[in-house]
Symmetry: C3
C-alpha cells in the first residue's frame, strides 16, 4: 500500500499545512467513514458536524474551517479540487509497462511509441499511430489509421474503428465503441438504403469516455468532442454531433445525430436530445429530460412529471389526457362568470 507523509502531500498539492508534517497518510476517506491514517475533506459547509467528529488523520478545508478541524489540516481555497489531486496519489489506474504483450497482434504497418503498452490479445491494425506512455488494455481493438496522442488510457475490450483521432490524455473505459457507423438510411418506398458513413470521430485532449459508451463517426463531416469533455457510461452520441469543451454528459444519455452542444453544459443522467438541435454554452438539462427544441439561453431545463404514488399517478395521467378539454372548460366558465 502506498503511503505519503502529510508534508509530502502538502508540498505536492501546494497547500498550507497546520499540524504534523510527518503524519503518515495511507489513503482517503469520507469525513464520517475515515479512519486513522486517512485524509478527508470538507467541501459543503453543511457537513461541519461530521468534520468536528471525524477520525481522519488530516482534512482538507477552507481557511475558515481550520479551527473546527480536530486533527491535522491542509488549507485550500477549493477543498474538493485539492481532494481530487490527492486522490491521484492513491490512484490504482493501470501501470504502463512499456512493450507489446506477446499475445497481442500488431500490424507491421503500425507505429507504436517505445514507451507505450499494448496488452494481452489486443489488436492494432495497419497505419495506427500510438503516442508516448499510452496504455492499450487487453482485448482492445484499434482500427486502421487510428491516431492516439500521448498518455491515453484505453481500458480492456475497447473498440476504435478506423481513422478515429484521439488527442492526449484521453481515457476510454471498457466496451466503449468509437467510430461505429452513424444511423443513416434513405427510404426508397420499400426498404431502407444505407448511407455510408464517411466521416471520422475526433476527440480532444483530456476527454474521459465511460464504459459502454458509443460515439458514431460522421456521415460526411466528423463527429467532434472538444477538450475536457467528460462522458459517463452507456452514453450514445450520434453522428455529426459536436460537443463543446468541458461539457459533462452523465450516464445513459442519448444524443441523436447532428447535435451542436455548447461548452460547459451538463446533461443529466438518461437525458435525451432529438436530432439537429443546438444547446447554448452553459445549459443544464436535468435527469431523464428530453431536449426537443434548441436552447439558446444558458440555464436549467427539464421535462417529465415528477414521481408519484402509482395510485395517484394513474388519476393524474387520466386528467393529463383530458387537459386540453379542461382548459377549454375553464375558459368557458370564465366567460360565463364574466357575464355574471
Amino acid at each position: 500500500m502506498r503511503s505519503f507523509s502529510l508534508g509530502e502531500i502538502a508540498n505536492q498539492l501546494s497547500l498550507k499545512l497546520i499540524g504534523d508534517s510527518r503524519c503518515e497518510i495511507t489513503g482517503l476517506g469520507t469525513l464520517s467513514g475515515a479512519q486513522a491514517g486517512q485524509l478527508s475533506f470538507l467541501s459543503n459547509p453543511s457537513y461541519i458536524r461530521q468534520l468536528v467528529a471525524t477520525q481522519a488523520s488530516a482534512v482538507i478545508v477552507d481557511q475558515r474551517f481550520a479551527d473546527a478541524s480536530p486533527g491535522n489540516v491542509l488549507i485550500s481555497d477549493q477543498p474538493y479540487v485539492s481532494f481530487a489531486y490527492a486522490s491521484e496519489l492513491f490512484s490504482s489506474r493501470p501501470i504502463v509497462k512499456p512493450g507489446v504483450h506477446e499475445t497481442a497482434y500488431v500490424s507491421p504497418l503500425a507505429k507504436i511509441s517505445s514507451s507505450a503498452h499494448v496488452g494481452a490479445n489486443a489488436v492494432i491494425e495497419d497505419g495506427v499511430e500510438i503516442g508516448d506512455n499510452v496504455f492499450v488494455g487487453p482485448g482492445t481493438v484499434i482500427g486502421r489509421g487510428v491516431v492516439l496522442g500521448s498518455d491515453c488510457v484505453l481500458h480492456a475490450n475497447v473498440t476504435l474503428y478506423h481513422s478515429v483521432y484521439l488527442g492526449c490524455r484521453v481515457c476510454v473505459h471498457s466496451n466503449a465503441v468509437i467510430g461505429a457507423d452513424g444511423f443513416g438510411f434513405a427510404f426508397d418506398g420499400e426498404k431502407n438504403i444505407k448511407i455510408q458513413q464517411l466521416g471520422r470521430v475526433r476527440i480532444g485532449n483530456d476527454v474521459d469516455i465511460g464504459a459502454g459508451t458509443t460515439i458514431d463517426r460522421g456521415t460526411i463531416e466528423d463527429t467532434v468532442i472538444d477538450q475536457g469533455v467528460k462522458i459517463d457510461n452507456q452514453v450514445q452520441i450520434g453522428h455529426n454531433t459536436h460537443v463543446g469543451a468541458h461539457t459533462v454528459i452523465c450516464g445513459c444519455t442519448a444524443i441523436a445525430g447532428s447535435a451542436k452542444i455548447g461548452k460547459f453544459c451538463v446533461l443529466g443522467g438518461a437525458s435525451g436530445m432529438v436530432g439537429h438541435l443546438s444547446l447554448a454554452d452553459g445549459v443544464q438539462v436535468s435527469a431523464m429530460s428530453l431536449v426537443s427544441r434548441s436552447i439558446t439561453e444558458p440555464g436549467a431545463y427539464s421535462s417529465g412529471t415528477g414521481q408519484m404514488k402509482l395510485s395517484d399517478w394513474k388519476r393524474a395521467i387520466v386528467r393529463f389526457q383530458q387537459l386540453d378539454r379542461m382548459a377549454r372548460r375553464l375558459k368557458e366558465l370564465e366567460r360565463l362568470t364574466d357575464k355574471n
Copy 2:
C-alpha cells in the same frame, strides 16, 4: 437432444405425478405452442382454456387444475417455480470443461481451480483467484486481484476491472463491465479534475448481471450488490451504490451514484434514479419512471404522462406548460363564484 422420463422429472422436482411416468419429455413449451413430448405449465388461471386444449405431453399445475388437464400432470404449489427448475434440465448454458484454452493468457501469479474453464483468448491478470467450476468465456478479461467464487459463469467478452469481488454462482453476460471508474470530477472553475475511484465492487452470491450492464467501482468505499439481485441488460449502476438482496433491476435502468436500494425492490425497465437517494425495501418503480426523491414506504411509484396520439399529445403538453396559470385561474373563479 436431452430427454427425461416424466418420472425422472417428478423425482428431481419432488412433484406428485398423475399419469405415465415413462412418458419421454424432450423439451418445454407454452400451453398453446407445446407439441407432443413437451412439458408445459399453468401459473395464471386465466389461461385455463389453453390448458384444456394443450398438446403438451405433460403439464405442471396446481392441485385444483389437475382434473382440467388433458394429459399427464405434475402437481405443484408453485407451478411457475417448478417450471423454472424444469427449465434447468434442458439448459444450454456453457459446459465447463476444466482447463485453460491454449490461446488464453493467464498470469503466472493467478490461482485458478483445476475444475475451472478459461476460454479462448481470455486474459487473466496477476493475483486473480478463480474458484471451482467457474466458466470464463472467450475474450473475457479479468483484471488483477479479482476474486471469483465457485460456479460463476462469465460469458464471452466480459470485463472485470482490478480488485472486483464476485461471490458464488454469479452469472455475468457478455460485454458487461464491472469495476470501471465512477463518474466523479471536481470543477476548479475552468475544467474538471478527476476524482480517482479507489473503492471496489463487491457482488454477492447468486447475482445475475445482464449483457452490456455496467457497475462502477466506489470512490472511497465499495459499490455493493447483495445476494440474489437480478440485473437485466444495459443497466448502469453508479459508484457507491448499494443494492439490497433479491432486488430486480430491469433493462436499461440508470442508477446514478450513491444510491441505497432496499431488498426485494423492482425497478422497471428504463427507469432512473438521481444520485444520493434511497429506496425502502419492497419499492416498485414502473417502467421509464424517474425516482427524484427518496422513497421511505414500500409500494408502487411512477412518473410520466402515459401514451397518447401525437396530435392529442401536442395539445396536452401546451396545456401542461400553462398548468400553473390554469390553477390560478381556477382559484380566481372559485373566489368569484363563492362571492356570488
Copy 3:
C-alpha cells in the same frame, strides 16, 4: 483515395447526367460544405438556396431543380436514395480478405467459406457455419452452432451466443450481443429462480444492428428480427420479441419481452415498450416516449411533457400532482355556475 468519373457514377446509379461526364468525383459533401471534386444532393426543397450557391462539382436533384443547379447534374426521382447508393462507392467498410488470421481460434468443427475473413483474436466455436464473403472482425466471438449467411459483416468485439441464426448481408456493430439470456425468473417467495432461456435468435436478411445493442434469446420460442430491420446503437430487445420487416429502431430504445412489433414502424430514440404489447404496422413512436398499451392503428404516438425552463417546470409538476383535484374543482364550479 478512390475517384470516379461522373459518367461512371451516372452509369452505376442509372441516372441521367447533364454536364461533363469526365468530371472526376473524389468524394461526397453537403450542399453547403462540398468542395470541388465532390458530389452533393438536394432532397428537401427548402435547401434550394444552398443548391444555388454550392461549390460541389455535381449534384443529384429532382428534374425540376436541374436548371437551378450551378454545375453538373444527375437527375433522380429520389435524390436521397441515389445519394445513398453513391455513398456506397466511397464506403470505407472493412475489406474482406479471405482467410483466417493466425491469431484467431477456429474450432475444427466449424465450417467457414473459403471467401470469408476471420480477424485477429476472433473465436469461432464448434458447429459454426459461415457463408461466403463474411467478415468477422477482431476479437469477435461466435458461439457454437451459429449460422451466418453470406456477406454478413461482424465488426470487432461482437458476441453471438450459441445457436443464433443470421441471414445474408446482416451488419452487426462492435460490442453488440445477440443471444444472451432473456430476463426471466420465478419468485418462490424468498428468491428468484432462473427460467432457462431455451429459444434462439433469428435475424433476417439485410438487418443492421448498432454498437452495444443487445438482443436476447427466446425463453421457449425464438426472438425474431425480420428482414430489412434497422437497429441503432444501445438498443435492448427482450426475449420472445418479434420485430416486423423494415422497422427502424433508433438508439437507446428499450423493448421489454414478448413484444410484437409490426412492419415499417419507427421507434424514436430512447423510446420504450413495456412487455407483452403489440404495435400495428406503420406505428411511429416519438423520442423518449413509453408505449404502455398496445397500439392497433398506424400513426404517431407520444408521451412526456415537453421541455421547460426548470423554474416553470417545477411549478407545472406541482400542478400535475394536483391535477385530479383541479379537475374535480372544475366540475364543481361548472355545477355551481350551471345552477346560477
